[in-house]
């Protein structure tokens, strides 16, 4: 499985905030996606959009509630079309399945189209350890593979890189001249990757959707690389999470409308590839073998959890990342695992362990923008709150990560706010105690209390006023003169 660095959230997000080129990259790309999304919705009308969202959500609820049935149906239909279905309990089992297929078929070179699940499994590393050369063929993925990095966005994996950085990378790794022409960079990548497509024995793809009734794997791309990966090599392995299954082709339609619009503001992506089994006798091309690897890797835990299940409805459009003001500040890598942003703050703790990723559910101002843009209406803030609840109050040692200090602070706050008389007394004491720290109506000196000093690091804090509202009310509001210091 991919390396988990979620414990480093605080330092990683701090470094990200100080990374000027990352800030520039985030500003340029993030906002553009969201504007395009809004335009695409307005084109079809908000009313229609809401109908689509409702339909898609209903379909996901139904598919996940009957997942056992649809997985079996999918298995039968893929098998009937001449493909092979493998179920993988966890990352290591998934990697072994793929490695075994590669080994037994003497695979030397593999091309890959974009797949977040393969990132989750760290599949490339596993294949390389088994002697297979792996080439990412999505332009963004190719860039980060060359750079030895991981994706920072669900849809635009190299979003964190500026074009200057990419040009420099191509110059160093491929020996091509520096350029600021993005199309020229794409041409370079295409030239390199064409050779790989032609020499690859194995093509690996993810899946945006799996259609149970027809046994069809659906991928949508803009570069056509997915189509080459799934058709040129003699073997195609599709690898994805088991939650991607939907009942029918009829159901697919609404997702094909929602996903591109939510992701990039496109009405439709340039390519929609639908793969059903390997090449048939009368087909001119296509792979000789088709394998579908369905990965659990913690998803059944989410499925069994009524409070978090809706995280499985996610279609990885990235709209919640594009709108999230926290993601917009820190980018994807700071989250410390494969899935960044608001949805990642739910999925990562669920898949790598809540305590391991205890900072992520708190990495949100709970502004609710993610819920507002989600095409499946996933209530992300509600789940973040739920995870915070488990971290604070779960009786399970595996979930509860609250420090004694935090527990005592909550206890003290709760006690104070349950005793109005004590609150009034505390305000009086506060007014006396604050004197040495206050001038001009605000706290002007460093107060040796972490809560206060964390606030005043970059913001002024008003001094406690001469009277609280409740004191003024008790005296009768008419007698009150000007209060502002």
């Amino acid at each position: 499985m991919a390396e988990v660095k979620t414990r480093e959230f605080v330092s990683a997000s701090d470094s990200a905030m100080k990374d000027a080129s990352l800030r520039r990259a985030l500003r340029q790309v993030g906002g553009g996606f969201n504007e395009a999304r809004l335009e695409a919705i307005e084109e079809v009308s908000w009313e229609t959009w809401e109908e689509w969202r409702e339909e898609a959500r209903r379909t996901k609820i139904h598919a996940l509630e009957n997942l056992d049935y649809y997985l079996e149906l999918l298995h039968d239909r893929v098998t009937a079309a001449g493909g092979h279905v493998h179920f993988a309990r966890d990352a290591s089992q998934a990697n072994s399945i793929v490695a075994e297929i590669a080994r037994s078929r003497n695979v030397k070179i593999a091309t890959k189209s974009k797949s977040m699940v393969s990132e989750e499994l760290d599949l490339n590393q596993s294949l390389e350890a088994n002697g297979v050369e792996v080439y990412e063929t999505d332009l963004g993925e190719y860039i980060i593979q060359l750079a030895g990095e991981t994706p920072s966005h669900l849809v635009a994996p190299a979003l964190h890189k500026t074009k200057e950085q990419v040009s420099e990378l191509f110059h160093q790794e491929l020996g091509v001249p520096l350029t600021d022409d993005i199309e020229e960079m794409a041409r370079v990548a295409r030239r390199v990757l064409r050779e790989k497509f032609l020499s690859a024995d194995l093509g690996i793809s993810g899946a945006n959707f799996l259609v149970a009734e027809t046994g069809t794997l659906v991928i949508i791309t803009n570069e056509g690389n997915g189509r080459l990966c799934t058709s040129a090599p003699r073997i195609h392995i599709g690898i994805t999470g088991m939650e991607k299954v939907i009942p029918s082709l009829q159901d697919l339609a609404v997702f094909l409308r929602l996903l591109p619009r939510s992701a990039t503001g496109q009405r439709l992506t340039s390519y929609v590839s639908m793969v059903t089994g390997p090449r048939r006798n009368d087909d001119e091309d296509g792979p000789e073998e088709f394998h579908l690897v369905l990965v659990d890797n913690g998803r059944s835990r989410l499925l069994a959890d009524p409070d978090l299940r809706e995280a499985l409805y996610c279609i990885r459009c990235g709209a919640c990342l594009n709108i999230c003001p926290v993601y917009g500040k820190i980018g994807g890598h700071a989250y410390g695992w494969v899935y960044p942003g608001p949805i990642g703050a739910i999925v990562s703790p669920a898949l790598v362990g809540l305590k391991e990723a205890k900072d992520l559910p708190h990495a949100s101002s709970l502004c609710g923008a993610c819920r507002e843009v989600c095409p499946i209406r996933i209530n992300i803030p509600r789940m973040l709150l739920h995870l915070r609840h488990r971290l604070a109050e779960s009786p399970l040692e595996t979930e509860n990560a609250t420090t004694t200090g935090e527990r005592q602070a909550a206890q003290a706050y709760s006690w104070l706010m349950s005793n109005p008389a004590a609150l009034s007394a505390a305000a009086k004491v506060g007014r006396l105690v604050q004197k040495p720290f206050v001038s001009g109506g605000k706290v002007s000196k460093r107060v040796p209390l972490p809560l206060v000093s964390k606030w005043t690091g970059g913001r002024d804090l008003p001094a406690l006023p001469r009277q609280t509202f409740r004191e003024m009310w008790a005296q009768g509001l008419e007698s009150v003169a000007e209060l502002r210091e």
Binding site: V10, S13, D14, M17, P325, V326, K329, I330, H362, A363, S364, S365, L366, C367, G368, A369, R371, E372, R382, L385, L387, R388, H389, R390, L391, A392, E393, T402, E406, A410, Q411, Y413, S414, M417, S418, P420, A427, K442, P450, K454, W455, G457, G458, R459, D460, L461, P462, L464, P465, T468, F469, R470, M472, W473, A474, L477, V480, E482, L483, R484
Partner: protein
């Protein structure tokens, strides 16, 4: 309600206004009284429990929420000069008490009575002439809970549009969070302040000398940044602006 002077409303002043910005509570009371509302203030009220709820201390938040249910059980209306605290009472209590049908029923009863301050003025009182002046060039910041939980969007703008002398400049990226986020602001101050910096830039880009909001928590945060960075932008709760400034040489209005 047939006659305005029969409207009784209880003020849930919020702990931040009670403890840090009492003048906002005073303004809210004055504006409500000016429009014929008989205002009461249940004196055993404290905090809605949101800081605990958002930190995951659901059980402790329930204790405070139960106090609120008790304090306001007899109220006709509960007026809250904060979109965020209003959302806690109106929306999140229902989730907080999920699984306890009796308390959830009481929460639902409370929810039906809760209005954010500007929402109350428009939806319940249907105020026409405000009779207040506040000469300034202002911009308005909407808190996220006001927008997305209370779904109050036009009410404050419509009220501010009727304040004499107040010029209202639209705030760019108005729907983006300012970065306060309660405990988020002290748990991850670096991210919170990064978001605040964007909000400060947007406020400054309007050329406004006054920033108005329905939430003192956002204003404490954005105003704290404006002030720390040396910008001369006044920050005011909408109740203060609607109360208005006194006529020159005259009595304070309201």
């Amino acid at each position: 309600m047939t006659q305005r002077d029969e409207i009784h409303a209880s003020l849930f002043v919020t702990c931040i206004i009670d403890q840090l910005y009492p003048q906002v509570g005073v303004s809210a009371v004055k504006v409500l009284r000016k429009h014929g509302v008989v205002v009461d203030f249940p004196e055993d009220q404290t905090c809605c429990g949101q800081p605990l709820y958002n930190s995951g201390f659901t059980q402790k938040a329930r204790q405070l929420a139960t106090r609120v249910l008790d304090s306001f059980s007899l109220s006709d209306y509960v007026v809250v000069p904060s979109g965020s605290c209003a959302a806690m009472l109106k929306v999140f209590y229902l989730e907080l008490f999920a699984g306890d049908s009796e308390l959830q029923e009481r929460a639902a009863e409370l929810a039906g009575k809760v209005y954010e301050f500007s929402e109350f003025l428009v939806k319940v009182l249907d105020v026409g002439d405000l009779g207040s002046r506040f000469p300034a060039k202002a911009t308005f910041h909407s808190g996220c809970h006001l927008l997305r939980e209370m779904e109050v969007r036009q009410e404050p703008l419509s009220l501010l549009g009727r304040v004499e002398g107040l010029e209202l400049a639209p705030l760019p990226q108005a729907d983006t969070c300012c970065g306060f986020g309660g405990t988020f602001s002290v748990k991850y101050p670096h991210i919170s302040q990064g978001m605040m910096d964007d909000k400060v830039s947007n406020v400054l880009s309007t050329g406004a000398d006054l920033l108005v909001s329905c939430d003192m928590s956002c204003l404490m945060h954005i105003g704290g940044g404006l002030s720390r960075q040396g910008h001369q932008v006044d920050v005011r709760h909408i109740a203060e602006v609607l109360e208005g400034l006194p006529e020159e040489g005259g009595q304070r209005l309201g």
